[in-house]
């Protein structure tokens, strides 16, 4: 019996020797060639995640993430306090940003950069006057006209105005004053609306040269003192929806010459009002085909409008009924600071959290399919062109 262990050791030695011999006679690894990866074919589940990089803001960037494979496909740099938008055909990412000549200091250059979404290579740029609105990301900091002929850039110095750019010829066509109103809400081929402190919308109509042809102020549709609206509008089929701090939904139709306001409705029941409320950096997403609205909600008081949602509430935009409440902590997600939904028939809901993760959910059931850890530092805006 004492010889059994010796036998085992001997057999193991033989096995290792055979393996080493086999390795020595196998072909060596072939020489390799360095290449640049090409993007696969685009799917409806690609998401552009804007990372404000708040702890080192000169280095913001956009991550391209695949919601099916959970792969990070590439990156677009976004400079200091940048903003992002997508062209109407989804072919181009536009970054409006600022660079300093010595990295973190020195002469300031404001610029709009165009990136080809098929290659993620920056193709050209337009230098701006040093007036760009330096603020947190929002779809109304920089925006395309519906036909793609103009790009609008919000200026705040803190005097408010906006620039009109010709992306095809790489030129700044002009600047339009919007005193008392801010940001660029695009509609049609030649209209720009701005949100006003008075609760109105200022709408400027442009001529073919990108100059002001006319302007009009709407009636007030919110009260900036009693219940301000978030500036993060949510694209609808006919325009944008604006949520208020207390949870009112203001749907604005931008298809006509002047904006039209649907009667406001509430996300919260009377018993919930003042307790549950929306809060985030990107405070809602709408699936336009399904007519469903997704909102990060939390329990909090005045001043918590930037607190993330502990739950995502789902609403039917036709009936205004709440369809579901999806608590996020059950799946290990921290409060949600940004949401976006894909527009296809098997939609994904993306939820960026205050711990920098991005959760991928089935937008029909709320099932959390995946949590991508640390998708950037402060992912505060997501686009799904």
């Amino acid at each position: 019996m004492r010889s059994a262990p010796l036998l085992c050791v001997a057999m193991l030695g033989v096995a290792l020797s055979v393996r080493a011999l086999a390795a020595s006679v196998a072909s060596p690894l072939p020489a390799e060639h360095l290449s640049v990866e090409r993007l696969p074919a685009k799917t409806p589940h690609w998401i552009y995640v804007f990372d404000n990089a708040f702890s080192n803001e000169i280095d913001s960037r956009v991550h391209l993430f695949d919601g099916d494979t959970y792969r990070r496909l590439g990156q677009i740099d976004a400079g200091f306090n940048g903003s992002v938008t997508e062209s109407p055909d989804g072919a181009t990412t536009v970054i409006a940003t600022t660079y300093f000549s010595r990295g973190s200091r020195g002469a300031r250059t404001d610029v709009v950069e165009f990136t080809d979404n098929a290659t993620l290579a920056t193709t050209h740029e337009i230098v701006l006057p040093p007036k760009r609105a330096m603020t947190v990301p929002n779809i109304f900091n920089v925006a395309y006209s519906a036909d793609g002929h103009f790009v609008y850039v919000a200026y705040i110095t803190p005097a408010a105005s906006f620039g009109v750019l010709d992306p095809a010829h790489g030129t700044v066509l002009g600047e339009i004053d919007t005193a008392g109103c801010a940001l660029v809400i695009p509609s049609g081929p030649n209209r720009v609306s701005s949100l006003c402190e008075s609760g109105r919308l200022l709408t400027v109509t442009l001529d073919a040269a990108g100059h002001e042809a006319s302007r009009a102020l709407s009636e007030p549709f919110f009260d900036a003192d009693a219940d301000p609206v978030f500036v993060q509008g949510i694209p609808t089929a006919a325009g944008f929806a604006f949520l208020s701090f207390l949870g009112e939904v203001h749907e604005v139709d931008f298809t006509g010459a002047q904006p039209a306001f649907a009667p406001a409705w509430s996300l919260v029941a009377p018993a919930e009002k003042g307790k549950w409320r929306p809060g985030a950096m990107q405070v809602g997403a709408i699936h336009r085909g399904l007519k469903r609205l997704y909102v990060p909600m939390h329990v909090g008081g005045e001043g918590t409008h930037k607190d993330g949602g502990t739950e995502i509430w789902v609403f039917d935009l036709v009936t205004h009924r709440r369809l579901a409440r999806w608590p996020m902590h059950i799946d290990g997600a921290s409060p949600v600071l940004a949401v976006q939904v894909s527009q296809d028939a098997a939609p994904l809901l993306f939820a960026a959290t205050d711990s920098s993760d991005v959760a991928v959910l089935d937008a029909l059931t709320g099932h959390v399919k995946h949590i991508e850890k640390h998708l950037g530092q402060t992912p505060w805006l997501m686009l799904n062109p």
């Binding site: 600022t98 408010a160 900036a224 001043g303 918590t304």
Partner: protein, 169 residues
């Protein structure tokens, strides 16, 4: 510039409406006295530890006068709650908050200046938004980079300077 003038006119008129001259002078006097004494006061450096947040601790986001700061506390970056860190420049334009001081039961008008010219401090991130308003009301908005008008427009950190007592409406 018309809008800039209008902004400051509006802010000044609003401030004048909410403050009495006597209270402002008294407050400035207290502020100057307080600023002279500040380096002598013991400071709890364990702001991020397990210590309970203190409403009178300039290194804590819970400090009463930080009620509408969304940024990095200069007091954790080489400055204080009322001074910028060495080598940075204060922003001449600001947003305004109204904060309640539990120490004396008064509400104070507070100017939140950014300190500019170096990249983000990255220490003591503080996100409080009491009475903060969106971008269309810039004088009450803390999302804007208030270093925007500085020659070096990079954002480093934020301070909180008392302007006066807010009168009750």
């Amino acid at each position: 510039m018309r809008s800039l003038d209008h902004l400051f006119e509006t802010s000044s008129r609003s401030l004048a409406r909410r403050t009495s001259r006597r209270s402002l002078i008294a407050t400035l006097g207290q502020l100057l006295t307080g600023a002279a004494l500040l380096p002598l006061l013991p400071v709890d450096r364990a702001w991020a530890g397990d210590a309970k947040p203190r409403v009178d601790d300039p290194n804590s986001c819970e400090y009463w006068r930080y009620c509408a700061i969304d940024g990095f506390l200069c007091s954790c970056c080489g400055g204080t709650s009322t001074s910028c860190p060495p080598g940075t420049s204060p922003s001449p334009i600001t947003w305004i908050g109204t904060c309640h001081n539990p120490g004396d039961g008064r509400d104070y008008i507070v100017s939140y200046n950014d300190c500019c010219g170096k990249t983000s401090c990255g220490n003591c991130k503080c996100n409080r938004n009491e009475r903060e308003k969106p971008t269309y009301r810039p004088s009450r908005n803390n999302d804007l980079n208030w270093c925007m008008a500085n020659s070096d427009a990079n954002y480093h950190c934020s301070v909180s300077v008392i302007l006066g007592v807010a009168e009750k409406k």
